[in-house]
């Protein structure tokens, strides 16, 4: 009887674990396979085709599109610009986001939720609308130039629009909330006592940061930098609107090729962008983890 009761108990508590797991991951898996992996596989195949003015592309299997990209300094320059801008934005977001996230995580203020909302506020506005705001600010007759000219600091308007600096400022504004929120949630999980223990053992703020806070918040830093870097690499609206026609990053380059009906080259540029992003992200992840494991 005891055995029967145990069987009954087991069947109630752990019913068919395989079925449960399938039910849980099934819908998301189907969605990812059908909505992402399958189109990616098709696009990957297209990247080996040849462009044709009449039929868009001709079925073939050639590496010409990839060779064209890597043998042309124009396209490799676009990739280099994208990497530079994404890396710069990530570093600046981390430098600005870490202190802000720390304050948000540690504050005891009753307005903490309001402060977090203020950080998230920029995400309430779409990228294109936000870039339009930057255009009003940066234009030759925009707020910034007019103010500087009126107070006599400059005589001629500064060329801010359609520069790399404008794009970097715009991307940072988009990405900073992601970095802050990721870091804040991780720092909040670090017990305040470990910081106080470091101080009581004679560590200064810098040493405590380097030896205690930084290693413990590493998962957040990694997640935040990965997220910011990926968003920077794939930026579209900000480079188009603030960078102007002469400034090229990979996102607009991919879309431009599809606009031209050059699907094969567009597909290959898309895969080069994806591979570069994945490779750099994975490499940075491994290197940083190794560095701090010591």
């Amino acid at each position: 009887m005891a055995a029967t009761a145990q069987t009954q108990f087991q069947s109630d508590e752990a019913p068919t674990p395989l079925l449960s797991a399938t039910t849980l991951v099934g819908p998301a898996t189907v969605f990812v396979v059908a909505g992402l992996l399958l189109p990616l596989a098709i696009l990957f195949r297209y990247s080996f085709d040849k462009v044709d003015a009449r039929r868009i592309m001709i079925d073939t299997f050639s590496f010409d599109n990839y060779v064209k990209f890597f043998s042309d300094p124009y396209y490799t320059g676009v990739l280099a610009t994208t990497l530079r801008v994404a890396a710069l934005c990530t570093v600046i977001c981390l430098a600005m986001g870490l202190p802000l996230a720390y304050v948000l995580a540690r504050t005891q203020s009753r307005y903490k939720n309001v402060l977090i909302m203020l950080v998230v506020l920029p995400l309430f506005v779409g990228n294109a609308v936000r870039a339009a705001g930057w255009m009003t600010l940066f234009g030759s007759k925009g707020f910034l130039n007019v103010t500087l000219m009126q107070i006599g600091i400059i005589a001629q308007p500064l060329q801010i629009m359609y520069t790399e600096g404008a794009v970097i400022a715009g991307i940072i504004a988009v990405n900073l909330p992601y970095m802050v929120l990721t870091l804040q949630s991780v720092i909040e999980g670090i017990n305040r006592n470990v910081e106080e223990a470091a101080f009581s053992l004679g560590a200064g703020p810098a040493t405590m940061f380097r030896r205690v806070l930084l290693p413990l918040s590493l998962p957040g830093i990694l997640a935040g930098t990965i997220l910011t870097f990926i968003l920077g690499m794939n930026a579209y609206a900000t480079p188009v609107l603030l960078g102007g026609p002469k400034f090229k990053m990979m996102g607009p380059l991919v879309y431009g090729q599809f606009q031209l009906n050059n699907w094969p080259f567009g597909a290959s540029v898309a895969f080069i962008l994806m591979t570069a992003t994945l490779t750099l992200t994975a490499t940075a992840n491994i290197l940083i983890q190794r560095r701090f494991r010591r």
Binding site: V51, A53, R54, R55, I56, D72, Y74, G139, S140, K141, V240, L241, G244, P245, K246, K248, G256, F258, Q259, L260, N261, N262, W263
Partner: protein, 347 residues
């Protein structure tokens, strides 16, 4: 004694009656079937509804649904759907060059003008074998008289390296800009090399490149530059918005811009497609587009007020001199031309 009805039964009965009463109306709204229209969004889509669909089709029993997207996306969709026996759209609004491209790809029906009662009024130049011209304008010279004191009269005057950074061009209009520059440099619509050379000289002299039509208008407004080329219809819209700009029809002949409609081969409702084409050529719809959008009618029976015609229209001589793009040449060389534009001119 009749059994008394419960409140639920009474409500159900009322609902059934109301439903039955609305049936004839619904049936009448869809009596002639559904027409799916591929179009750009924004003002053009709104005006299609206001001037064509609502007064001439929906009112007469057609159901009209707009499939709004940019033209690259819609062209891709047409090509992707080509092999299907039944497509998803009945008519597609495209520029003349893109109408040609879709025809060249074999994705559109030849137009049977016998099925269009308004075809007799259509300008001969707007009767493409594979599509119907809806509205047209011309690429004219634009200048701010405050900055450009000597009025230009030709594309050659606009694309003059001596003008330095007073000249502006638009990135997304690379095809038309290249052809204008080619005409300025003595080239032809199928020989753009002289235009490329001239544009490089202008770039060296300080010519500005703006990403979109809107950014170009903003630059004109803020007087960053004062000279360029643009559709005459768009100049009218800018003038209405208070921008100090004047237009001139170039002596080389203005490049024509035609926007029209094609019928995909696998259109599910070909009868509806022809009804749409006919409605868009209707006198009232054509006149309304001239007023609302500043583009010229493509039918001869449309009457445009003389003061409006002076601003949007062209004289008979200017119409004779309108220059059409070489669609075949541009279609074949588009990728190479854009690469040159991106790498050499903008790079």
């Amino acid at each position: 004694m009749t059994p008394s009805k419960s409140r639920r039964e009474v409500l159900l009965g009322a609902a059934a009656l109301a439903g039955a009463a609305s049936l004839p109306r619904m049936a009448s709204a869809q009596a002639k079937g559904r027409i799916v229209v591929g179009t750009w969004g924004g003002d053009y889509a709104r005006l299609l509804n206001k001037n064509i669909e609502a007064p001439l089709l929906i009112k007469n029993g057609w159901e009209v649904v707009q499939d709004q997207a940019g033209d690259p996306e819609r062209r891709s969709k047409m090509l992707a759907e080509m092999r299907l026996p039944r497509g998803t759209t009945d008519v597609q609004g495209l520029s003349a060059i893109n109408m040609f491209q879709m025809h060249d790809a074999g994705s559109v029906l030849p137009i049977d003008y016998g099925k269009l009662k308004n075809a007799g009024n259509l300008l001969p130049s707007m009767k493409y074998p594979y599509g119907v011209g809806h509205i047209y304008s011309g690429k004219v010279g634009v200048y701010n008289p405050k900055l450009i004191t000597t009025a230009p009269v030709s594309y050659k005057d606009v694309f003059d390296p001596k003008q330095g950074n007073k000249v502006g061009i638009i990135d997304i209009q690379y095809q038309y800009t290249l052809v204008c520059a080619a005409l300025a440099a003595g080239g032809k619509v199928d020989d753009l090399e002289p235009g490329k050379k001239l544009l490089l000289e202008c770039k060296k002299a300080g010519m500005r490149i703006y990403p979109t039509n809107e950014a170009f208008a903003q630059g004109l407004k803020s007087e960053e530059f004062g000279l360029g080329v643009m559709w005459k219809a768009r100049v009218v819209q800018w003038q209405n918005a208070g921008i100090s700009v004047t237009s001139m029809t170039p002596t080389e002949g203005a490049l024509a811009y035609v926007s029209g409609f094609v019928v995909p081969k696998n259109s599910p409702n070909k009868e509806g497609a022809y009804a749409y084409l006919d409605a868009m050529l209707d006198k009232s719809a054509q006149e309304a587009f001239a007023v609302d959008m500043g583009y010229n009618p493509t039918v001869t029976n449309a009457e445009v007020a003389p003061d409006l015609n002076k601003r949007i229209g062209f004289t008979p001589d200017e119409i004779k001199k309108l220059v059409d793009l070489d669609y075949n040449y541009l279609n074949k060389n588009d990728v190479a031309l854009k690469e040159w534009w991106d790498k050499e001119l903008k790079g």
